[in-house]
Structure formats: structure tokens, C-alpha cells
């Protein structure tokens, strides 16, 4: 026992849904049901990780000493992706942020390492799950992110505590993605079930037996292979264990994010004192047992099922365009300029964390900080004011048919922030909604543009839904 407990968690699902029936019909394949979740054209494994951590941080008290970021769809291989996430959260420089490139086991391993290290930590995993058109990876992939924060017992209310776990490693090779290829491929699913299921079930049984009464426990499963997942659930039930199904069953596989995502889905619904076995099956298996604690009562209202219910249809053609799988004639406009690294570093608190400022003379909010206050026009010392969680109201807005865009037409708005200051920025995730002055919005971290392999991250706003007045 390390003395660390889960003090918060968060999940992020993009709002776009692509009909599996449309995907399969486009290639003349058989009928499918349901929808897959797809990242927006301005989202990637970095932006989604930021959103999951923002959701988790709502309840977190302590700053982490460590930020571990796991993905199998890294934006950069050289340059730390997590340094951007670190900056977006405005974490102190002394916080170690590092990438762990890998998939589900890596996520489980990072969680295990963090638990053993004994320092406050945040573990976040995010993946954009692609696949060749017509593959199960494409149809049943899910773009998502999930995060947990850990802190020493007693420093913050515990949502869950780790009781114990075990891991096996086996070079099964049922699924693989060559470095550089970008799309996963798989062996015959029956082989995968044969090779993985029995070992996973044995491991689960061992952990359940070691840590008490299996009858008290609910179990959830993360497995990239659909047949393996169904097989493990069936075998578990046969042994009398209770499977905790729900929204997660229809989402598809979220790669590196999947183990934390299934855990988050369970944390969303389990009451205090219940126990949860998270069984991850990939290149072996991991079984970890958690006990839910009283702190769970303060979990975020932004549950996974609430996010899954937001279903905004995205045409398959748009999905392909956004992923670069369907090249189109570019507009006769120049590509956006490359971001200046020195300028981005100097202005990092504004650019990455959306840090505004308040004038020490007249108290007016400046967005971002200025040397001379925009209100009293006097040289001023500016006190930082975080704005990334500040909602605002659209004052005027427009659709720019001419501007360069990574997706469709650029929609932009002038947004007056609650408490003062104004943002003039793009509006994300409108999903065809016609905006109007007065519409409430909230900042969201996005990839604005790309040039020469260098991505430009900044904040947009998205419609604020379900606001409590």
C-alpha cells in the first residue's frame, strides 16, 4: 500500500458520432448498428487529454508532482506531448510531465508506477483510434481520453483506493500497429480469444480470491479485440462474478484511454464501499481491484453516459476528410504561418492555459495581460486570472467561408466573459447549431492549425450545454 488514493477522475468524449451503418454501407459491407465517437477536426490526443484532466481537476485538491500521459497516437515523437498538457493546466515547472507511448498495458503500468511512487500524481490517457476503412478498428474505435489523480490519503477526500492487482505478459500478437504505419491490424479473433481469455480469467480469479469476497465485486473489461472482450465477460459471469455493463458496452475501444475509460464509467455509477475489478486484456492481462470510498459522492456531473448521450451526427465523408483519408482541393488561401517557438514560450500562460490578467490600478480584466492596461491606459502590474473555466456570452459572431480551416468553415465569435474581459476566437463543436448573440459558451483547448509538422494549440469556445442558471 502506497498510501495514495484516487482523489478525482475525469473522462472526455468528443461530441461527433459517425453512423456505423453509413461507414459500412459506403464500402458495400454488411449492416452495422450504433455510432462511433469521433474527435473533431481540431482535436487530437493532446487536446482530449487536456479536457479529461480539466474534468478531473474540478475535484482535485493537490497539485501533482507527476503527470504521466499515455497514448498510442502521439502528436509528436520528439518533443514532449505532455509538456503541452502540462502548460494547458498551468502546472508549476517543477511538476514532471512525461509521455508514455503505448497502449492499454502502458496505461495500467503508469497507474501502477504512480501508485508505487507515492507522490501526488495525475495519469491521463488519450487516443485517436483510426483504422483502415472497412475495418473493425474503424467501426468500433472510440476517440476518447480519461484521467485520474492520486494523492496521499488524508490530503483530499478519497474517491477510491487501490486494494491490489497482478499482471501477466504474453507475446500474443493478436493486434499490432507498426511504428509509422498509423493503422492497427489484427489476427483471427478466435486465436486471440484462445490465447488471452483463459489467462485473463485465471488472473482475475487470483486477485479476487486474494483480496476478499468475489461476490462483493463488480468487474469491467478493457480489451481491444471484441471477441476477447465478449469471451472474458461471458467466462467471468460463468464464475459467478457480476459484470458492470452500461454505456461503455456501446462505445467501442479507446486504445490507451480504454482502461481508464472503463474505470471512469464504473466510478460514475458505483456507490461507496463497493468494489471494482478492472480487467485489462492485451499482450497478457492486468487485474486491479479498487474499493470505492465516500469521496465518490463529489464526483463530477459530467459522467461518461452524459457525454455519450450528446450525439451529433458527423457524415462519414467529413470524418474521412478530417483524418486526411480523403484529400480535397485546398482553398486558394495561404496556409497558416508556423507558430514561433520563442513567442509561444514567452506567452505560454496565455497561449496554453488561457491566463488573463487583472490591472492592479483599476482592477479591469485584460485578456491577455498587457503592459499598459486597456482600460485605465496606465502602466500596470497585472495579476494573473485563470479564464479557462470562465463561461461567456456571445456578443457577435460570424462564419468565415474564406479563412483557412482544418475542417469546415471557420465560425468565430466575440465573447464577453463572465466577470469581465472579452475573447475573440473560434467556436468549436457547433454541430450545425445556428449561433446567436446571447448564446452561452465555455473555453475548450484545441488544435487550431498545423504547419511544417508543427501544431498550433490554442483555446476556442464551445456552446455551453445544460448550464444551471
Amino acid at each position: 500500500m502506497s498510501g495514495l488514493v484516487v482523489t478525482s477522475y475525469g473522462s472526455y468524449l468528443p461530441g461527433n458520432r459517425v453512423s456505423r451503418a453509413e461507414m459500412s454501407a459506403t464500402l458495400g459491407r454488411g449492416p452495422l448498428s450504433g455510432q462511433r465517437t469521433a474527435a473533431g477536426h481540431d482535436e487530437d490526443s493532446i487536446t482530449m487529454a487536456v479536457e479529461a484532466l480539466r474534468a478531473a481537476r474540478g475535484a482535485a485538491v493537490a497539485e501533482p508532482a507527476l503527470l504521466a500521459y499515455v497514448t498510442s497516437s502521439p502528436v509528436y515523437l520528439e518533443r514532449s506531448n505532455s509538456s503541452i498538457i502540462h502548460a494547458a493546466l498551468d502546472l508549476p515547472a517543477r511538476v514532471l510531465a512525461h509521455d508514455a507511448i503505448g497502449t492499454a498495458q502502458t496505461t495500467v503500468a503508469m497507474l501502477r508506477h504512480a501508485l508505487r511512487a507515492g507522490e501526488p500524481a495525475a495519469v491521463v490517457a488519450a487516443d485517436v483510434r483510426g483504422g483502415l476503412p472497412g475495418s473493425e478498428f474503424e467501426w468500433f474505435g472510440c476517440d476518447a481520453a480519461a484521467a485520474v489523480t492520486l494523492a496521499p490519503e488524508g490530503t483530499a477526500p478519497a474517491m477510491a483506493r487501490h486494494l491490489g492487482g497482478a499482471t501477466t505478459t504474453l507475446p500474443v500478437g493478436d493486434t499490432w500497429m507498426s511504428a509509422g504505419e498509423g493503422v492497427p491490424r489484427s489476427w483471427d479473433g478466435r486465436f486471440a480469444a484462445h490465447a488471452l481469455t483463459p489467462g485473463a480469467i485465471d488472473l482475475a480469479e487470483e486477485v479476487l480470491t486474494r483480496y476478499g469476497d468475489p461476490a462483493r465485486v463488480r468487474f469491467v473489461v478493457s480489451a481491444g479485440n471484441r471477441r476477447v472482450r465478449a469471451d472474458v465477460i461471458r467466462q467471468g459471469r460463468k464464475r459467478g462474478w457480476t459484470y458492470l455493463g452500461g454505456v461503455i458496452d456501446d462505445l467501442g475501444y479507446a486504445g490507451a484511454a480504454d482502461p481508464l475509460l472503463v474505470m471512469a464509467a464504473a466510478f460514475d455509477v458505483l456507490p461507496p464501499a463497493s468494489r471494482l475489478l478492472v480487467l485489462t486484456v492485451a499482450d497478457g492481462a492486468s487485474a486491479h481491484l479498487w474499493e470505492i470510498d465516500e469521496g465518490i459522492e463529489s464526483r463530477s456531473a459530467r459522467s461518461l453516459s452524459a457525454q455519450a448521450d450528446r450525439r451529433h451526427p458527423l457524415a462519414y465523408s467529413a470524418y474521412l476528410r478530417w483524418r486526411g483519408d480523403l484529400a480535397e482541393d485546398p482553398p486558394r488561401r495561404p496556409e497558416p504561418d508556423r507558430v514561433s517557438a520563442p513567442a509561444a514560450l514567452r506567452n505560454r500562460r496565455w497561449k496554453y492555459a488561457l491566463m488573463g490578467a487583472e490591472c492592479d490600478r483599476c482592477r479591469a480584466r485584460n485578456v491577455p495581460a498587457q503592459r499598459i492596461c486597456g482600460h485605465c491606459r496606465q502602466p500596470a502590474r497585472m495579476r494573473p486570472v485563470p479564464l479557462q473555466d470562465t463561461p461567456g456570452t456571445i456578443r457577435s459572431w460570424t462564419v468565415d467561408h474564406l479563412a483557412y480551416s482544418t475542417g469546415d468553415k471557420v465560425i468565430a465569435a466575440v465573447v464577453d466573459l463572465d466577470g469581465g474581459g472579452r475573447l475573440s476566437c473560434e467556436v468549436a463543436d457547433t454541430h450545425g447549431e445556428r449561433l446567436a448573440a446571447g448564446r452561452r459558451v465555455i473555453p475548450t483547448f484545441r488544435r487550431v492549425s498545423t504547419r511544417d509538422g508543427l501544431h498550433n494549440y490554442f483555446w476556442k469556445v464551445c456552446p455551453l450545454r445544460g448550464e444551471v442558471k
Binding site: P336, R395, S396, T398, A412, N456, F458
Partner: protein, 396 residues
Amino acid sequence: MAAHGIANRVAVIGSSCTAFGDLWDTGIEDLAVDAALQACESAGVELSDVDAFWFGSTNSAQSGLDLSRALKLDNKPVTRVANFCVTGSDVFRNAAYAVAAGAYDTVMAIGVEKLKDSGYAGLVDDEPPNDGTLSGLTPPARFSLLVPAYCERYGVGADTMREALTHIARKNHANGALNGRAQFRRPVSAEQVNGAPAVAGQLGVLDCSGMSDGAAAAVLVRADSGLARNREALYVKGMSFVAGPGTGPRDPGYDYVSLPEVAASAREAYRQAGIRDPRSELLLAEVHDCFTPTELVLMEDLNLSRRGEAWRDVLAGVFDLAGELPVNPDGGLKSFGHPVGASGLRMLFECWLQLRGEAPAERRITNTERGAALVHNLGGAPGELMSFVSVLGTSR
């Protein structure tokens, strides 16, 4: 602390303007030479008589050498000016100050722009290296923000607003159709304007000025010089140029219903020129109609309409060629075209023609009681704007 102005100290003795348009067969050198030689001819001077040059170009030049090379100037000072869309007028302003200061006897203000060689649609900004947080919106999108805000403030319905904007587009196209130098020389119907492909917000292609190639120039001398006395000169009566604090996109205090920088520059220029009621005193106004809602809002900021009533005046035809105060009788940016660095001097050229009775008969404005004209030129976008206003007159 005050802006003193240079009323009656500087005279324009020559003005020129090339044809504007998609000049595929004309390079920047051709444009510069044509505008410069025509201005000299208009002024009755030789190129070698010009003591100094102010040269405006936003996207087509890098330095004064681009002009001195084209004109083969022998060791004359050439200042290159680039100040967004107000470049042409800032060129004029700095040239006028040099004359007023007594530094030179004869100077040339020249603006040259070659936009059509880029291959891009619309105007392209060349931004300095930055942190990637600046707005990537195009000018039409930034000006389109005026429309919903204006409608909301004054309770103008969307259909009425559309009618007013369409009226402005049709007026300027009708005027441009009478101008042999204009880029677009065809009248347009309301159906064409309303059905044009969308560009930004509620603006279609026919709500936007034309990106074009072109050049314009003027020759300036001291008002008390023999050159001014011997020619039918125009005199700078009032001139103001301001750059706002650029806080509009960040400060909820800005409402996107007016352009305060324009109002400030107009007040100052009118004060210098002694203009009290511009609508009844001016013969014409050349204004920066980069987009139709810009011209609408400008009518109020230039005090040609009361606040909230420009749409009504526009629809009543007040600013039509045959109206009470013709605005953009040459077609404006809208149909004459907008070669950025040249536009301010193109506006001056129309004042030159109209005030001296030299405009072609079909669009000549005759009113012997009015001897002053207004040039309004701007750069930037609502909320972060520079504005230039000058008043030119036929007498000292």
C-alpha cells in the same frame, strides 16, 4: 498638446490613377511608372522636378528601392509606407507634412499594389512571427461582425438591413459602371447581390470590395508657391489620422456598432477645415467601403447620418450619385477595386476630378455652392482600427 493641422499650407497640383483590375499583363514597375508620369503630366512638372517621394505598398514591395529602381531616380529620398489599407492616405499625409515643414518644394505621394500575382482569393496578411493566438479571420469576416450588432442595437430587421447593404452595393456598382478606370464596370441587380456566393456572415461576394492591381499618385507643393498659383490646385483644408488602442476584440466596452476611430478622425478634420455640417457642405465623399456594412456605419461615424439612421438615409438614396451627398461617385473600393496601397490616393483622384469639374459628364457632380470634398480611408478592422480623414477644397 494639440493637433494643429496644416490647413491651407499644402496644395495638390497633380493627380493620377491607373485603371484598376486584374492586370495580368502589367507588373509593379509598369504601374509605378504609369502613375508617376501621369501625375507629373497632370501637375505640369518633370519627374526630375520632384524632390522627394513617399511610396505606399502593402503586399507588393519591400523598400523605397522598388520605386527608385522603377523610376530610375537619381539619389532622391524615397520613403516606403505600409500601413494596411490606409497606406495610400498615410503616404499622402507624410508627403504633405514634408511640404508643410518646408523640407521640400515638390513631392510625390504614390501608391502601387500588385495583388493578383499571389494566386490567393482575398487579401493576404503577412504577419510577423507570433504565438499563434491571433485571429485567423479574414477581413470580410471581421467586418461582418458589424451586421448583427448594428441590427440588434437599432432594432433593424435582417431584411431591412439586407436591403440597405444591397442598396450600397448597387449604388457603387452603378457608379463604377460609369468609370472607365474601374475594375467592375457593370451595374448589378438586387437579385445578383442577394444571391451572390457567401463570403462571411451575412456578406456575399457582392458585398465585398474587389481585390485588384493598380496605382495612383499625387504631386504636392507649398500652397503659396508659384506652381500652386498657376494651376487649378486643391488645398488640404483638414487632415486627421488616428490609430486606436486595438482593444475592441478584448474589451466588452466595444459594441461593433460603430468605428470610434473614424468618428475621432472626422471630428478633428472637420474642425481644422471649419466644416460644421458635412452633409450639406461637401460636394462628395470618398469613403472606405471595403464591405457594404462598413460604408453604412461610416455614414454615421463621419456624421453624414444620425446615429441609427444611416440605413434609412441609404435606402432613401441620400448618398446616391443624384442624391443629396454623393458617396463614392467613382464606384468606391466596391467596384473601382482595392489595390491596397493605392486606394487612398485613388480617392483623392476622384476629388481632384470632381472638385475641378473634370469628372466625365455622366457622373459629374455639379453644385457650385460646394467646394470641398472628403476622403476617408481606414486600415485594420472593427475594434482595432486606423482611420484617416481629409477635407480638400478648391480655395485657400
